[in-house]
Protein backbone atom coordinates (compact mmCIF):
# COMPACT_ATOMS: atom_id res chain seq x y z
CA UNK A 1 0.00 0.00 0.00
CA UNK A 2 1.29 3.47 -0.90
CA UNK A 3 1.96 5.98 1.83
CA UNK A 4 -0.31 9.03 1.52
CA UNK A 5 2.73 11.20 0.77
CA UNK A 6 3.63 9.00 -2.24
CA UNK A 7 0.29 9.59 -3.96
CA UNK A 8 0.73 12.18 -6.71
CA UNK A 9 -0.95 15.42 -5.73
CA UNK A 10 -2.88 15.53 -9.02
CA UNK A 11 -4.35 12.08 -8.28
CA UNK A 12 -5.24 13.03 -4.72
CA UNK A 13 -7.00 16.18 -5.88
CA UNK A 14 -8.84 14.43 -8.72
CA UNK A 15 -9.92 11.59 -6.44
CA UNK A 16 -11.18 13.91 -3.75
CA UNK A 17 -13.02 15.98 -6.34
CA UNK A 18 -14.77 12.76 -7.41
CA UNK A 19 -15.83 11.97 -3.84
CA UNK A 20 -13.32 9.14 -3.58
CA UNK A 21 -11.76 10.19 -0.26
CA UNK A 22 -12.75 6.93 1.42
CA UNK A 23 -11.44 4.80 -1.45
CA UNK A 24 -8.22 6.81 -1.57
CA UNK A 25 -7.65 6.29 2.14
CA UNK A 26 -8.31 2.55 2.05
CA UNK A 27 -7.04 1.64 -1.42
CA UNK A 28 -4.48 4.28 -2.47
CA UNK A 29 -2.67 2.04 -4.94
CA UNK A 30 -5.87 1.05 -6.73
CA UNK A 31 -7.06 4.66 -6.95
CA UNK A 32 -3.66 5.78 -8.26
CA UNK A 33 -3.66 3.05 -10.93
CA UNK A 34 -7.29 3.82 -11.77
CA UNK A 35 -6.50 7.48 -12.34
CA UNK A 36 -3.69 6.53 -14.69
CA UNK A 37 -5.98 4.15 -16.58
CA UNK A 38 -8.97 6.48 -16.74
CA UNK A 39 -6.98 9.52 -17.81
CA UNK A 40 -5.03 7.66 -20.50
CA UNK A 41 -5.93 9.22 -23.87
CA UNK A 42 -7.75 7.29 -26.55
CA UNK A 43 -5.57 5.68 -29.19
CA UNK A 44 -4.82 7.40 -32.49
CA UNK A 45 -8.20 7.73 -34.24
CA UNK A 46 -8.65 6.81 -37.91
CA UNK A 47 -7.96 9.63 -40.36
CA UNK A 48 -10.96 11.86 -40.84
CA UNK A 49 -12.43 11.56 -37.37
CA UNK A 50 -13.41 15.09 -36.54
CA UNK A 51 -14.51 16.58 -33.21
CA UNK A 52 -17.70 17.49 -35.11
CA UNK A 53 -18.55 13.84 -35.90
CA UNK A 54 -21.81 12.43 -34.54
CA UNK A 55 -21.37 10.02 -31.66
CA UNK A 56 -22.76 6.48 -31.97
CA UNK A 57 -25.83 6.64 -29.72
CA UNK A 58 -27.86 9.42 -31.28
CA UNK A 59 -30.88 10.66 -29.34
CA UNK A 60 -34.06 9.38 -30.96
CA UNK A 61 -37.26 10.98 -29.66
CA UNK A 62 -39.46 8.48 -31.53
CA UNK A 63 -38.17 5.76 -29.21
CA UNK A 64 -40.38 7.17 -26.49
CA UNK A 65 -43.55 6.85 -28.55
CA UNK A 66 -43.72 3.09 -28.09
CA UNK A 67 -42.24 3.17 -24.58
CA UNK A 68 -44.57 1.69 -21.95
Amino acid sequence: MSEPSKIPESVRLAAEQQGLGRALKRFPDIVTAAAERGLKPLGEPPAGLSPLASPAPIFDPTRFESHK
Binding site: Q18, I30, A35
Partner: protein, 477 residues
Protein backbone atom coordinates in the same frame (compact mmCIF):
# COMPACT_ATOMS: atom_id res chain seq x y z
CA UNK B 1 -30.02 -45.29 -21.26
CA UNK B 2 -29.80 -41.65 -22.39
CA UNK B 3 -27.19 -39.61 -20.53
CA UNK B 4 -29.46 -36.89 -19.18
CA UNK B 5 -26.49 -34.82 -17.99
CA UNK B 6 -25.31 -34.18 -21.55
CA UNK B 7 -28.65 -34.40 -23.36
CA UNK B 8 -29.01 -31.50 -25.78
CA UNK B 9 -31.98 -29.12 -25.82
CA UNK B 10 -33.00 -30.29 -29.31
CA UNK B 11 -32.85 -34.01 -28.48
CA UNK B 12 -34.41 -33.60 -25.05
CA UNK B 13 -37.23 -31.40 -26.35
CA UNK B 14 -38.03 -33.96 -29.06
CA UNK B 15 -38.15 -36.77 -26.49
CA UNK B 16 -40.29 -34.66 -24.16
CA UNK B 17 -42.70 -33.77 -26.94
CA UNK B 18 -42.98 -37.43 -27.96
CA UNK B 19 -43.64 -38.28 -24.27
CA UNK B 20 -40.56 -40.55 -24.29
CA UNK B 21 -38.86 -38.46 -21.62
CA UNK B 22 -40.54 -36.90 -18.62
CA UNK B 23 -39.44 -33.31 -17.93
CA UNK B 24 -39.67 -34.27 -14.26
CA UNK B 25 -37.19 -37.11 -14.78
CA UNK B 26 -34.84 -34.84 -16.74
CA UNK B 27 -35.06 -32.08 -14.13
CA UNK B 28 -34.59 -34.50 -11.23
CA UNK B 29 -31.53 -36.05 -12.88
CA UNK B 30 -29.93 -32.63 -13.26
CA UNK B 31 -30.83 -31.56 -9.71
CA UNK B 32 -29.24 -34.78 -8.42
CA UNK B 33 -26.12 -34.14 -10.47
CA UNK B 34 -25.90 -30.53 -9.25
CA UNK B 35 -26.19 -31.79 -5.66
CA UNK B 36 -23.49 -34.40 -6.26
CA UNK B 37 -20.87 -32.50 -8.24
CA UNK B 38 -21.36 -28.75 -8.07
CA UNK B 39 -19.38 -28.44 -4.85
CA UNK B 40 -16.37 -28.89 -7.15
CA UNK B 41 -17.45 -26.21 -9.66
CA UNK B 42 -19.50 -23.60 -7.73
CA UNK B 43 -21.59 -22.96 -10.82
CA UNK B 44 -24.85 -22.42 -8.94
CA UNK B 45 -25.46 -19.70 -6.37
CA UNK B 46 -29.03 -20.86 -5.75
CA UNK B 47 -30.74 -24.08 -6.80
CA UNK B 48 -34.54 -23.80 -6.91
CA UNK B 49 -35.26 -27.52 -6.72
CA UNK B 50 -38.88 -27.39 -5.54
CA UNK B 51 -39.90 -24.71 -8.03
CA UNK B 52 -38.05 -26.50 -10.82
CA UNK B 53 -39.84 -29.78 -10.12
CA UNK B 54 -43.18 -27.95 -9.94
CA UNK B 55 -42.50 -26.29 -13.33
CA UNK B 56 -41.46 -29.66 -14.77
CA UNK B 57 -44.67 -31.31 -13.50
CA UNK B 58 -46.76 -28.54 -15.06
CA UNK B 59 -44.93 -28.98 -18.36
CA UNK B 60 -45.46 -32.72 -18.25
CA UNK B 61 -49.18 -32.32 -17.56
CA UNK B 62 -49.62 -29.77 -20.37
CA UNK B 63 -47.77 -31.92 -22.90
CA UNK B 64 -49.82 -34.96 -21.84
CA UNK B 65 -52.93 -32.93 -22.71
CA UNK B 66 -51.49 -32.02 -26.11
CA UNK B 67 -50.65 -28.44 -25.10
CA UNK B 68 -47.03 -28.37 -26.33
CA UNK B 69 -45.78 -24.78 -26.17
CA UNK B 70 -42.62 -25.09 -28.26
CA UNK B 71 -39.02 -26.34 -28.18
CA UNK B 72 -38.19 -25.01 -24.70
CA UNK B 73 -41.25 -26.63 -23.10
CA UNK B 74 -40.07 -28.80 -20.21
CA UNK B 75 -36.41 -27.97 -20.93
CA UNK B 76 -34.26 -27.14 -17.86
CA UNK B 77 -32.05 -24.05 -17.90
CA UNK B 78 -29.97 -21.85 -15.59
CA UNK B 79 -29.91 -18.03 -15.39
CA UNK B 80 -26.99 -15.75 -14.59
CA UNK B 81 -27.73 -14.10 -11.25
CA UNK B 82 -27.93 -10.66 -12.81
CA UNK B 83 -31.36 -11.40 -14.32
CA UNK B 84 -34.42 -10.75 -12.19
CA UNK B 85 -36.69 -13.66 -11.32
CA UNK B 86 -39.84 -12.65 -9.47
CA UNK B 87 -39.56 -13.47 -5.76
CA UNK B 88 -35.86 -14.41 -5.92
CA UNK B 89 -32.74 -12.48 -5.04
CA UNK B 90 -30.66 -10.95 -7.82
CA UNK B 91 -27.32 -10.76 -6.05
CA UNK B 92 -25.09 -9.97 -9.04
CA UNK B 93 -22.66 -12.15 -7.04
CA UNK B 94 -22.10 -9.15 -4.77
CA UNK B 95 -22.24 -8.43 -1.08
CA UNK B 96 -23.91 -5.14 -2.01
CA UNK B 97 -26.96 -6.97 -3.42
CA UNK B 98 -27.05 -9.96 -1.08
CA UNK B 99 -30.54 -9.23 0.19
CA UNK B 100 -32.09 -7.65 -2.89
CA UNK B 101 -35.31 -9.36 -3.91
CA UNK B 102 -36.84 -8.98 -7.38
CA UNK B 103 -40.49 -8.14 -7.76
CA UNK B 104 -40.85 -9.14 -11.40
CA UNK B 105 -39.22 -11.34 -14.02
CA UNK B 106 -36.65 -9.98 -16.43
CA UNK B 107 -38.16 -9.91 -19.94
CA UNK B 108 -36.14 -12.95 -21.01
CA UNK B 109 -37.10 -14.92 -17.90
CA UNK B 110 -40.74 -14.08 -18.62
CA UNK B 111 -40.31 -15.31 -22.20
CA UNK B 112 -38.88 -18.61 -20.96
CA UNK B 113 -41.64 -18.93 -18.38
CA UNK B 114 -44.20 -18.50 -21.20
CA UNK B 115 -42.27 -21.07 -23.25
CA UNK B 116 -42.66 -23.58 -20.39
CA UNK B 117 -38.93 -23.87 -19.64
CA UNK B 118 -37.78 -25.10 -16.22
CA UNK B 119 -35.52 -22.82 -14.17
CA UNK B 120 -33.00 -24.92 -12.20
CA UNK B 121 -31.54 -21.95 -10.35
CA UNK B 122 -29.27 -18.96 -10.65
CA UNK B 123 -25.62 -19.23 -11.51
CA UNK B 124 -22.40 -17.50 -10.55
CA UNK B 125 -20.80 -14.56 -12.33
CA UNK B 126 -18.02 -12.08 -11.85
CA UNK B 127 -19.32 -9.45 -9.43
CA UNK B 128 -21.69 -7.12 -11.30
CA UNK B 129 -20.54 -8.80 -14.53
CA UNK B 130 -17.13 -7.15 -14.23
CA UNK B 131 -14.10 -7.74 -12.01
CA UNK B 132 -12.98 -11.33 -12.22
CA UNK B 133 -12.98 -14.64 -10.36
CA UNK B 134 -12.88 -13.22 -6.83
CA UNK B 135 -12.14 -15.03 -3.59
CA UNK B 136 -13.20 -12.14 -1.32
CA UNK B 137 -16.97 -12.33 -1.89
CA UNK B 138 -19.77 -14.16 -0.05
CA UNK B 139 -19.71 -16.91 -2.72
CA UNK B 140 -16.70 -18.65 -4.30
CA UNK B 141 -15.97 -18.21 -8.00
CA UNK B 142 -17.18 -20.79 -10.53
CA UNK B 143 -14.52 -23.28 -11.65
CA UNK B 144 -13.66 -24.54 -15.10
CA UNK B 145 -14.89 -28.15 -15.54
CA UNK B 146 -11.99 -28.88 -17.91
CA UNK B 147 -9.49 -27.99 -15.21
CA UNK B 148 -10.54 -26.56 -11.86
CA UNK B 149 -7.32 -24.56 -11.61
CA UNK B 150 -8.02 -22.60 -14.78
CA UNK B 151 -10.13 -19.48 -15.21
CA UNK B 152 -13.56 -20.53 -16.58
CA UNK B 153 -13.89 -17.16 -18.32
CA UNK B 154 -16.41 -14.56 -17.39
CA UNK B 155 -18.33 -12.78 -16.49
CA UNK B 156 -20.99 -15.46 -17.17
CA UNK B 157 -18.69 -17.98 -15.48
CA UNK B 158 -21.38 -20.07 -13.76
CA UNK B 159 -23.33 -20.42 -17.02
CA UNK B 160 -20.24 -21.75 -18.82
CA UNK B 161 -19.29 -24.07 -15.96
CA UNK B 162 -22.85 -25.45 -15.58
CA UNK B 163 -23.04 -26.33 -19.29
CA UNK B 164 -19.62 -27.96 -19.50
CA UNK B 165 -20.15 -29.93 -16.28
CA UNK B 166 -23.46 -31.33 -17.55
CA UNK B 167 -25.55 -29.51 -14.95
CA UNK B 168 -27.90 -27.76 -17.44
CA UNK B 169 -28.42 -27.98 -21.21
CA UNK B 170 -29.05 -24.24 -21.58
CA UNK B 171 -28.14 -21.07 -19.73
CA UNK B 172 -28.44 -17.32 -20.05
CA UNK B 173 -25.51 -14.94 -19.85
CA UNK B 174 -24.82 -11.27 -20.47
CA UNK B 175 -22.08 -9.76 -22.61
CA UNK B 176 -20.60 -6.23 -22.47
CA UNK B 177 -17.04 -6.89 -23.57
CA UNK B 178 -17.29 -10.62 -24.24
CA UNK B 179 -18.90 -12.04 -21.09
CA UNK B 180 -20.97 -14.69 -22.87
CA UNK B 181 -18.24 -15.62 -25.35
CA UNK B 182 -15.33 -15.70 -22.90
CA UNK B 183 -16.79 -18.48 -20.71
CA UNK B 184 -18.01 -20.17 -23.89
CA UNK B 185 -14.40 -20.12 -25.14
CA UNK B 186 -12.81 -21.21 -21.85
CA UNK B 187 -15.40 -23.93 -21.11
CA UNK B 188 -15.67 -25.35 -24.66
CA UNK B 189 -19.33 -24.48 -25.19
CA UNK B 190 -21.30 -22.25 -27.60
CA UNK B 191 -22.23 -18.66 -26.70
CA UNK B 192 -23.92 -15.98 -28.80
CA UNK B 193 -23.88 -12.26 -28.29
CA UNK B 194 -26.89 -11.25 -30.38
CA UNK B 195 -27.45 -7.98 -32.23
CA UNK B 196 -27.90 -5.06 -29.83
CA UNK B 197 -31.65 -4.66 -29.35
CA UNK B 198 -32.58 -8.18 -30.51
CA UNK B 199 -32.94 -9.40 -26.92
CA UNK B 200 -34.43 -7.14 -24.26
CA UNK B 201 -32.32 -5.84 -21.39
CA UNK B 202 -35.43 -5.35 -19.24
CA UNK B 203 -34.89 -6.67 -15.72
CA UNK B 204 -31.13 -7.13 -16.19
CA UNK B 205 -28.86 -5.29 -13.74
CA UNK B 206 -26.85 -3.07 -16.12
CA UNK B 207 -23.08 -2.99 -16.42
CA UNK B 208 -23.20 -0.36 -19.18
CA UNK B 209 -26.08 1.10 -21.16
CA UNK B 210 -24.82 0.92 -24.71
CA UNK B 211 -22.66 -2.23 -24.74
CA UNK B 212 -24.77 -4.73 -22.73
CA UNK B 213 -26.39 -7.73 -24.39
CA UNK B 214 -28.20 -10.84 -23.08
CA UNK B 215 -27.09 -14.01 -24.84
CA UNK B 216 -27.88 -17.71 -25.04
CA UNK B 217 -25.29 -20.27 -23.91
CA UNK B 218 -25.55 -23.96 -24.79
CA UNK B 219 -23.38 -26.93 -25.77
CA UNK B 220 -24.47 -27.04 -29.43
CA UNK B 221 -25.22 -24.47 -32.11
CA UNK B 222 -28.72 -25.81 -32.77
CA UNK B 223 -29.57 -25.52 -29.07
CA UNK B 224 -28.26 -21.97 -29.09
CA UNK B 225 -30.55 -21.02 -31.97
CA UNK B 226 -33.51 -22.58 -30.15
CA UNK B 227 -32.77 -20.62 -26.98
CA UNK B 228 -32.18 -17.40 -28.96
CA UNK B 229 -35.61 -17.73 -30.56
CA UNK B 230 -37.19 -18.26 -27.16
CA UNK B 231 -35.71 -15.08 -25.63
CA UNK B 232 -35.60 -12.65 -28.58
CA UNK B 233 -38.34 -10.22 -29.47
CA UNK B 234 -39.49 -6.65 -28.94
CA UNK B 235 -40.00 -5.32 -25.44
CA UNK B 236 -41.90 -2.03 -25.54
CA UNK B 237 -40.74 -1.18 -22.01
CA UNK B 238 -37.04 -1.32 -22.98
CA UNK B 239 -35.85 1.70 -24.97
CA UNK B 240 -32.95 -0.32 -26.40
CA UNK B 241 -35.22 -3.08 -27.75
CA UNK B 242 -35.53 -3.24 -31.53
CA UNK B 243 -39.08 -3.05 -32.88
CA UNK B 244 -38.66 -5.77 -35.48
CA UNK B 245 -39.47 -9.42 -35.92
CA UNK B 246 -36.82 -11.89 -34.80
CA UNK B 247 -35.15 -13.39 -37.86
CA UNK B 248 -35.81 -17.09 -38.49
CA UNK B 249 -32.63 -18.92 -37.50
CA UNK B 250 -33.96 -22.46 -37.85
CA UNK B 251 -35.04 -22.86 -41.51
CA UNK B 252 -31.56 -22.50 -43.06
CA UNK B 253 -29.60 -23.67 -40.02
CA UNK B 254 -28.38 -26.81 -41.79
CA UNK B 255 -28.25 -25.34 -45.32
CA UNK B 256 -24.45 -25.65 -45.48
CA UNK B 257 -21.88 -23.15 -46.65
CA UNK B 258 -21.86 -23.45 -50.44
CA UNK B 259 -21.67 -19.96 -51.93
CA UNK B 260 -21.15 -18.12 -48.63
CA UNK B 261 -18.45 -15.43 -48.52
CA UNK B 262 -16.50 -15.30 -45.29
CA UNK B 263 -13.96 -12.69 -44.22
CA UNK B 264 -11.04 -13.61 -42.00
CA UNK B 265 -9.90 -10.85 -39.62
CA UNK B 266 -6.42 -12.23 -39.22
CA UNK B 267 -4.47 -9.09 -38.31
CA UNK B 268 -6.03 -8.98 -34.83
CA UNK B 269 -3.96 -12.02 -33.84
CA UNK B 270 -1.09 -12.07 -36.33
CA UNK B 271 -0.11 -8.38 -36.34
CA UNK B 272 -1.96 -6.35 -33.70
CA UNK B 273 -1.35 -8.67 -30.75
CA UNK B 274 0.48 -11.88 -29.92
CA UNK B 275 -1.72 -14.96 -29.74
CA UNK B 276 -1.15 -18.42 -28.33
CA UNK B 277 0.00 -20.74 -31.16
CA UNK B 278 -2.66 -23.30 -30.19
CA UNK B 279 -5.43 -20.75 -30.81
CA UNK B 280 -3.88 -19.70 -34.13
CA UNK B 281 -3.40 -23.27 -35.34
CA UNK B 282 -6.99 -24.12 -34.42
CA UNK B 283 -8.50 -21.19 -36.33
CA UNK B 284 -6.29 -21.97 -39.36
CA UNK B 285 -7.66 -25.51 -39.34
CA UNK B 286 -11.19 -24.15 -38.88
CA UNK B 287 -10.79 -21.89 -41.92
CA UNK B 288 -9.70 -24.92 -43.95
CA UNK B 289 -12.89 -26.69 -42.82
CA UNK B 290 -15.02 -23.70 -43.89
CA UNK B 291 -13.35 -23.74 -47.32
CA UNK B 292 -13.79 -27.48 -47.66
CA UNK B 293 -17.49 -27.01 -46.95
CA UNK B 294 -17.80 -24.62 -49.90
CA UNK B 295 -17.33 -21.16 -48.41
CA UNK B 296 -14.95 -18.69 -50.01
CA UNK B 297 -12.64 -17.09 -47.47
CA UNK B 298 -10.67 -13.87 -47.91
CA UNK B 299 -8.76 -11.79 -45.40
CA UNK B 300 -10.25 -8.44 -44.41
CA UNK B 301 -8.67 -5.42 -42.80
CA UNK B 302 -10.26 -3.48 -39.95
CA UNK B 303 -8.77 -0.86 -37.62
CA UNK B 304 -6.13 -2.22 -35.22
CA UNK B 305 -7.46 -4.24 -32.30
CA UNK B 306 -6.06 -1.67 -29.82
CA UNK B 307 -8.38 1.02 -31.20
CA UNK B 308 -11.44 -1.19 -30.75
CA UNK B 309 -10.22 -2.00 -27.23
CA UNK B 310 -9.75 1.68 -26.35
CA UNK B 311 -13.21 2.50 -27.67
CA UNK B 312 -14.93 -0.30 -25.75
CA UNK B 313 -12.91 0.29 -22.59
CA UNK B 314 -13.65 4.03 -22.42
CA UNK B 315 -17.40 3.60 -22.92
CA UNK B 316 -17.40 0.67 -20.50
CA UNK B 317 -15.52 2.58 -17.81
CA UNK B 318 -17.66 5.71 -18.03
CA UNK B 319 -21.03 3.99 -18.18
CA UNK B 320 -20.32 1.40 -15.49
CA UNK B 321 -18.99 4.07 -13.14
CA UNK B 322 -22.17 6.10 -13.59
CA UNK B 323 -24.07 3.09 -12.28
CA UNK B 324 -21.77 2.38 -9.34
CA UNK B 325 -20.58 5.89 -8.45
CA UNK B 326 -22.40 6.26 -5.15
CA UNK B 327 -21.46 2.82 -3.80
CA UNK B 328 -17.84 3.21 -4.91
CA UNK B 329 -17.71 6.51 -3.05
CA UNK B 330 -19.51 5.38 0.09
CA UNK B 331 -18.62 1.69 0.55
CA UNK B 332 -15.71 0.77 -1.74
CA UNK B 333 -14.62 -1.93 0.70
CA UNK B 334 -17.78 -3.94 -0.03
CA UNK B 335 -16.68 -4.69 -3.60
CA UNK B 336 -14.19 -7.41 -4.44
CA UNK B 337 -10.67 -6.16 -5.05
CA UNK B 338 -10.88 -7.09 -8.76
CA UNK B 339 -14.17 -5.21 -9.14
CA UNK B 340 -12.80 -2.05 -7.51
CA UNK B 341 -9.92 -2.18 -9.97
CA UNK B 342 -12.35 -2.40 -12.90
CA UNK B 343 -14.80 0.26 -11.73
CA UNK B 344 -12.57 3.01 -10.35
CA UNK B 345 -10.96 4.14 -13.63
CA UNK B 346 -14.41 5.38 -14.72
CA UNK B 347 -14.20 8.13 -12.09
CA UNK B 348 -11.40 9.72 -14.11
CA UNK B 349 -12.84 9.46 -17.64
CA UNK B 350 -13.78 12.94 -18.75
CA UNK B 351 -17.06 13.69 -20.53
CA UNK B 352 -15.17 14.72 -23.66
CA UNK B 353 -13.20 11.45 -23.71
CA UNK B 354 -16.46 9.53 -23.45
CA UNK B 355 -17.99 11.51 -26.33
CA UNK B 356 -14.84 10.98 -28.40
CA UNK B 357 -15.14 7.24 -27.78
CA UNK B 358 -18.74 7.36 -28.99
CA UNK B 359 -17.62 9.30 -32.09
CA UNK B 360 -14.94 6.70 -32.66
CA UNK B 361 -17.56 4.00 -32.22
CA UNK B 362 -19.63 5.51 -35.05
CA UNK B 363 -16.55 5.48 -37.32
CA UNK B 364 -15.71 1.88 -36.42
CA UNK B 365 -19.32 0.79 -36.99
CA UNK B 366 -19.29 2.35 -40.46
CA UNK B 367 -15.95 0.68 -41.18
CA UNK B 368 -17.33 -2.72 -40.18
CA UNK B 369 -20.51 -2.20 -42.23
CA UNK B 370 -18.38 -1.30 -45.25
CA UNK B 371 -16.17 -4.40 -44.75
CA UNK B 372 -19.29 -6.57 -44.59
CA UNK B 373 -20.70 -5.18 -47.85
CA UNK B 374 -19.53 -8.15 -49.92
CA UNK B 375 -19.34 -10.70 -47.11
CA UNK B 376 -21.87 -12.92 -45.36
CA UNK B 377 -19.84 -13.39 -42.16
CA UNK B 378 -16.40 -12.87 -40.67
CA UNK B 379 -14.33 -15.13 -38.45
CA UNK B 380 -11.60 -14.25 -36.01
CA UNK B 381 -10.24 -15.49 -32.70
CA UNK B 382 -12.19 -15.13 -29.46
CA UNK B 383 -9.40 -15.28 -26.84
CA UNK B 384 -5.85 -14.58 -27.95
CA UNK B 385 -4.43 -16.57 -25.06
CA UNK B 386 -5.31 -19.73 -23.16
CA UNK B 387 -7.15 -19.41 -19.83
CA UNK B 388 -4.73 -18.62 -17.01
CA UNK B 389 -4.87 -19.90 -13.44
CA UNK B 390 -8.01 -18.82 -11.60
CA UNK B 391 -6.07 -17.78 -8.50
CA UNK B 392 -3.55 -15.53 -10.28
CA UNK B 393 -5.03 -12.00 -10.34
CA UNK B 394 -1.95 -10.57 -12.08
CA UNK B 395 -2.34 -13.06 -14.96
CA UNK B 396 -6.07 -12.40 -15.10
CA UNK B 397 -5.50 -8.64 -15.31
CA UNK B 398 -2.92 -9.23 -18.03
CA UNK B 399 -5.18 -11.44 -20.15
CA UNK B 400 -8.38 -9.38 -19.66
CA UNK B 401 -7.96 -7.30 -22.80
CA UNK B 402 -6.19 -9.98 -24.82
CA UNK B 403 -9.27 -10.83 -26.84
CA UNK B 404 -11.19 -9.97 -30.01
CA UNK B 405 -14.71 -10.17 -28.56
CA UNK B 406 -15.22 -6.55 -27.56
CA UNK B 407 -15.04 -5.56 -31.24
CA UNK B 408 -18.60 -6.83 -31.69
CA UNK B 409 -19.90 -5.08 -28.58
CA UNK B 410 -18.67 -1.87 -30.20
CA UNK B 411 -20.48 -2.67 -33.47
CA UNK B 412 -23.50 -4.20 -31.69
CA UNK B 413 -23.55 -6.93 -34.33
CA UNK B 414 -23.98 -10.66 -33.64
CA UNK B 415 -20.98 -12.84 -32.77
CA UNK B 416 -20.82 -16.42 -31.61
CA UNK B 417 -18.00 -18.31 -29.94
CA UNK B 418 -17.71 -21.93 -31.06
CA UNK B 419 -15.16 -24.53 -29.92
CA UNK B 420 -12.35 -25.30 -32.36
CA UNK B 421 -10.84 -28.17 -30.39
CA UNK B 422 -8.57 -28.58 -27.39
CA UNK B 423 -4.86 -28.39 -26.65
CA UNK B 424 -2.85 -31.52 -25.88
CA UNK B 425 -3.57 -30.73 -22.21
CA UNK B 426 -7.30 -30.63 -22.85
CA UNK B 427 -7.76 -26.85 -22.67
CA UNK B 428 -10.64 -25.67 -24.91
CA UNK B 429 -9.90 -23.50 -27.95
CA UNK B 430 -12.39 -21.33 -29.84
CA UNK B 431 -13.10 -18.88 -32.62
CA UNK B 432 -15.79 -16.30 -33.28
CA UNK B 433 -18.15 -16.08 -36.22
CA UNK B 434 -19.73 -12.66 -36.62
CA UNK B 435 -22.10 -10.98 -39.02
CA UNK B 436 -23.93 -7.78 -39.81
CA UNK B 437 -26.79 -6.51 -37.65
CA UNK B 438 -29.67 -8.99 -37.35
CA UNK B 439 -27.86 -11.61 -39.41
CA UNK B 440 -28.12 -14.24 -36.66
CA UNK B 441 -29.47 -16.79 -39.19
CA UNK B 442 -26.23 -16.57 -41.21
CA UNK B 443 -24.01 -16.60 -38.12
CA UNK B 444 -25.77 -19.73 -36.86
CA UNK B 445 -25.64 -21.33 -40.31
CA UNK B 446 -21.86 -20.96 -40.50
CA UNK B 447 -21.42 -22.07 -36.88
CA UNK B 448 -23.63 -25.12 -37.38
CA UNK B 449 -21.85 -26.22 -40.55
CA UNK B 450 -18.44 -25.81 -38.95
CA UNK B 451 -19.27 -27.54 -35.66
CA UNK B 452 -21.03 -30.42 -37.37
CA UNK B 453 -18.07 -31.01 -39.69
CA UNK B 454 -15.38 -30.50 -37.06
CA UNK B 455 -17.16 -32.36 -34.24
CA UNK B 456 -15.86 -29.92 -31.65
CA UNK B 457 -18.96 -29.49 -29.48
CA UNK B 458 -19.59 -31.27 -26.20
CA UNK B 459 -22.15 -34.01 -26.78
CA UNK B 460 -23.32 -37.45 -25.70
CA UNK B 461 -19.95 -39.06 -26.48
CA UNK B 462 -17.93 -39.06 -23.21
CA UNK B 463 -14.77 -38.31 -25.25
CA UNK B 464 -16.22 -34.84 -25.96
CA UNK B 465 -16.98 -34.15 -22.28
CA UNK B 466 -14.68 -32.89 -19.54
CA UNK B 467 -13.59 -35.50 -17.03
CA UNK B 468 -15.11 -34.71 -13.66
CA UNK B 469 -12.72 -33.62 -10.92
CA UNK B 470 -11.85 -36.46 -8.53
CA UNK B 471 -14.10 -35.22 -5.71
CA UNK B 472 -17.00 -34.69 -8.10
CA UNK B 473 -16.44 -38.11 -9.68
CA UNK B 474 -16.62 -39.96 -6.38
CA UNK B 475 -19.68 -37.89 -5.33
CA UNK B 476 -21.39 -38.69 -8.67
CA UNK B 477 -20.69 -42.39 -8.25
Amino acid sequence: MTDLAYLSVAEGAALVRAKELSPVEWTRALLDRIAAVDASYNAFLVVTADEALAQARTAEAEIAKGQWRGPMHGVPYAAKDILDVAGMTTTCHSKLRKDHRSKADAFVIGKLREAGAVLLGKVALHEFATGGPAFDLPWPPARNPWNRDLHPGGSSSGSGAALAAGLAPAALGTDTGGSVRNPATCCGIVGLKPTYGAVSLGGVFPLTYSLDHVGPMTRTVEDNAILFHAIAGHDASDLTSAARTTPDCMTDLKAGLKGLRIGLVEHFYTKDAAADPNQVRAIEQAVAVLQRLGASVKTVQLSPLSLWTDCNRTIHQAESYAIHERDVQERPEDYADLTRKRLLPGAFVTASKYIRAQQLRAVLCREFTEAMRDLDAVVTLSSLLLPCRIDDPAAIAKTYDQQCRLVFNVTGTPAISVPTGRTADGVPLAMQIAGRAFSEPTVYRVAQAYCEAAGTCIGADPKTQPKLAAAARSAAE
